[in-house]
Amino acid sequence: MTTASSADNPTRRDFLFVATGAAAAVGTVLTAWPFIHQMNPDASTIAAGAPIEVDLTPIAEGQDIKVFWRGKPIYISHRTQKQIEEARSVPVATLPDPQSDESRVKSGHEQWLVVIGICTHLGCIPIAHEGNYDGFFCPCHGSQYDSSGRIRQGPAPANLVVPPYQFVSDSKIQIG
């Protein structure tokens, strides 16, 4: 790679090479973006993940149902008074993942517990109305949750996640 006469401006040639190299690099990155972004959820998947409304009237006290939103199972529990008191009588500081029951339900609707039914350990679906705490029991590795969906014993590190939801009326909630 010989240069002819270098008596004149070596910097002009360098500028050209740097400019071309920079343009090539920028072009490559900009071209790569669509190929990466196409793997993100497409418009129909996002639309299918829109908020859903659930009617609470068929759920009797002590009963719970499972609905699916964005592919995840969500437990909606109609808690008994006993379950609510049990949940509130625990000192929060003793919990592995300290969280008060009040912060996990909506005020004025304390009997309704809405949690994502995915164990925070490795993702199995815990079974409702099982375990020592009148809550959930995960059969995979033995994690036990209480009647507020909080982890009490077992390998799971965190409480069952509460999804975003609100009451559109006393008997209907919108999840998402």
């Binding site: 050209l16 196409q38 497409d42 418009a43 998947t45 639309a47």
Partner: protein
């Protein structure tokens, strides 16, 4: 392989690897130090262009395969899902479809270069034959890829080509059944074509490795056809050929971008926007442009088996070229007779391609036969004859001498041949368009707001068109690929999310089953699609005198018609591609109370000036005053036709504005980058010139 390299990397880690797997030395000797003839012209950049295109097709193909469903009931829908919903899905699909055509365009240039300069001659015979193998694999891959969208042309093209094998005596029908996996082209066929279409490009890549290996053993040919003798004849591959190839690739990318962003349907067939229907054969079955010359050869022989043999022979004859042409002089530059016959051959190939798209009638058949004879005569008679009788001109002593003798006159032949080839290519590609040129009255041309490189949808027209669809067309026609949420997307009618939710809620959507096992109705949601007026096709037919009203989601793309020669050449440059919308608008306004004298319309049909055959089952759907607009636009038939057609164009291509916008950015970038590459190339080569 080749190349004078005792390359040793300096970094200790690289040295460690090099001792165990000498890959750096290999890369260096093959692609850095590798001696390249210094007199190569730009026809030699097409090897790099082809490698680039193979990579593009593989990358876009793998990514598309993440979203495509290879099932006969779902394939068409999944392709529309890619184009409408996947992020940049429209771009990936356009790249892959246009990429196939660009891949073939480049391979034909590459092959003609080989023919002209004698690159198939000793010692490059195996290199040439490997190239023929790659070409055959490309044809198989392209054929199977075209079947995957499962449109009308996909299905019927598959039927015709697989039926070719029934010409084989005794085993023909067994082989065809084996290919189909059934009694006709169907789901098993589609599934296996998808598997093979994914596989073959990697087989091509493997044969390309062999091809480059064979090339490196012999070294590149060059325009003088004289082998390198001294070091003065060659330059190291990097940076000279590398930079020149990058410049070639960039210029090629500009042509590629023209198709991707501004003419995405120019090279395709409108019928492939109609889902495959095993009960209806399209009026003209035409393969993609790159198969047309062979299609013409096939059809020109009146015997079924002979036609198939002739078609395959026309490719296989290439394998024998090194032995058919035994002339000592390599390059046609120094073979005055061979050169002329070569250019006649090029014209013959282009004309055969044009004829492949014409209906097999009258003068077209005669012409195809004559040209087929020339095609074979060129290889089987002319080449051997010329080897014996031609007196070639003296070749230069060496490559270095050739470079010194030619300094200054290199640019012009390249430019003029490029222009000739682009025109020829456009002729060939556009001739697909001629298959269905005006048998009926041509629809009048309209001014569309979305036409041209800066076209946009007129929001008002889209909203008025939606109103017309809702009040009139939706009684019989579905719009099942459009969801209510699309009405709020950018580049569309521009409704807000709240307006879309309200509009959706007006509709009753069938859902279920509920916990009792019953289907029920609920108000529509933005994620729902426009409901079909009929539960199934049979109900649609029964309610409309036997003719099912087509779904309108893709109608403006499915009804594009071909304009004959020479208009399709002008259209390539003017970007005219609104034939479909012109047709739809014409149909809506083309009803006449009284058919012209001598024309009888069957009972239950209506006379329409622009409908093929003039007898349409749809009664005139629109008339003045039928729909009133809130914005005060005139309540006239021409206004309705314009607005609903604009709306339907948006329904067929919701991302058109994004496509044109990104296209402008890409073009600006590519032109600037091409300029930078040009000056870089000149700077790098200034040391040698």
């Amino acid at each position: 392989m080749s190349g004078p390299s005792d390359y040793q990397p300096s970094h200790p880690v690289l040295k460690w690897i090099e001792r165990r797997l000498p890959i750096f030395g290999f890369m260096h000797s093959s692609f850095v130090a590798y001696p390249t003839p210094r007199n190569l012209n730009y026809w030699w950049t097409f090897g790099a262009i082809l490698s680039f295109m193979l990579a593009v097709q593989i990358v876009t193909g793998v990514v598309l395969a993440m979203h495509y469903t290879p099932n006969a009931d779902l394939a068409f829908h999944s392709v529309e899902g890619i184009v409408r919903d996947v992020n940049y899905g429209w771009l990936l699909r356009n790249m892959h479809a246009a990429g196939a055509s660009m891949f073939f365009f480049a391979v034909y240039v590459h092959m003609f270069r080989g023919l002209y300069y004698g690159s198939y001659k000793e010692p490059r015979e195996v290199l040439w034959i490997l190239g023929v193998i790659i070409y055959l694999l490309m044809m198989a891959t392209g054929f199977m890829g075209y079947v995957l969208p499962w449109g009308q042309m996909s299905f019927w093209g598959a039927t015709v080509i697989t039926n070719l094998f029934s010409a084989i005596p005794f085993f023909g029908d067994t082989i065809v059944t084996w290919l189909w996996g059934g009694y006709s082209v169907g789901n098993p066929t589609l599934n296996r074509f998808f598997s093979l279409h994914y596989l073959l490009p990697f087989v091509i890549a493997g044969v390309v490795v062999l091809h480059v290996w064979a090339l490196h053993v012999a070294g590149q040919n060059n325009p003088a056809g004289v082998e390198p003798k001294t070091e003065k004849d060659t330059v190291p591959f990097t940076p000279y050929a590398t930079i020149k190839d990058m410049f070639g690739v960039t210029c090629f990318a500009i042509l590629f971008a023209w198709f991707i962003f501004y003419m995405p349907n120019y090279l395709g067939d409108a019928d492939n926007y109609i889902p495959a229907n095993p009960g209806v054969t399209p009026a003209h079955i035409v393969p993609e442009w790159y198969y047309l010359p062979f299609y013409a050869i096939l059809r020109s022989i009146p015997n079924k088996l002979a036609g198939v043999v002739a078609m395959f022979s026309s490719i296989l004859v290439l394998v024998f070229l090194p032995w058919l042409d035994s002339a000592k002089t390599r390059s046609c530059r120094y073979r005055p007779l061979a050169k002329q016959f070569f250019w006649i051959f090029v014209v013959v190939c282009i004309l055969l391609g044009y004829l492949g798209a014409q209906p097999p009638e009258g003068v077209y058949v005669v012409a195809a036969r004559v040209l087929t004879v020339y095609y074979f005569a060129y290889f089987l008679i002319l080449m051997p004859l010329l080897s014996r009788i031609e007196r070639p001109r003296p070749v230069p002593n060496s490559i270095a001498d050739d470079v010194l003798a030619r300094t200054g006159s290199k640019a012009t032949p390249m430019v003029s041949t490029v222009i000739a080839l682009v025109v020829g290519g456009a002729l060939l590609a556009g001739s697909v368009q001629n298959a269905r040129a005006a048998e009926e009255t041509t629809p009048p041309r309209n001014q569309w707001s979305f036409a041209g490189p800066f076209g946009k949808y007129d929001r008002g027209a889209l909203q008025r068109g939606l109103k017309i669809y809702k009040e009139v067309c939706s009684n019989c026609h579905a719009l099942s690929y459009v969801a209510f949420r699309n009405l709020a997307d950018p580049g569309g009618p521009g409704y807000s999310q709240a307006q879309v939710a309200a509009l959706a809620a007006e509709y009753k959507i069938k859902d279920g089953p509920n916990d009792q096992g019953d289907m029920f109705e609920r108000p529509g949601r933005p994620a729902d699609y426009f409901p079909s007026p009929f539960p199934n096709e049979q109900a649609a037919r029964a309610a409309n005198g036997g003719a099912a009203p087509p779904d309108l989601s893709l109608i403006t793309k499915a009804r594009s018609y071909e304009r004959g020669f020479p208009w399709f050449i002008f259209d390539f440059f003017t970007q005219y591609q609104e034939q479909g919308p012109d047709y739809v608008a014409a149909i809506l306004q083309g009803f006449e109370e009284n058919p012209p004298a001598g024309v009888t319309i069957p009972e239950g049909s209506y006379y329409n000036k622009y409908f093929p055959g003039h007898a349409i089952k749809m009664p005139p759907p629109l008339s003045d005053g039928q729909v009133t607009f809130d914005d005060g636009s005139p309540a006239t038939l021409p206004q309705y036709a314009k607005d609903v057609t604009t709306f339907l164009m948006w329904a067929a291509e919701p991302h058109m504005e994004a496509r044109k916008h990104l296209g402008m950015q890409v073009f600006v970038f590519l032109i600037i980058f091409a300029g930078l590459m040009y000056f870089t190339k000149k700077k790098v080569w200034s040391a040698v010139h």
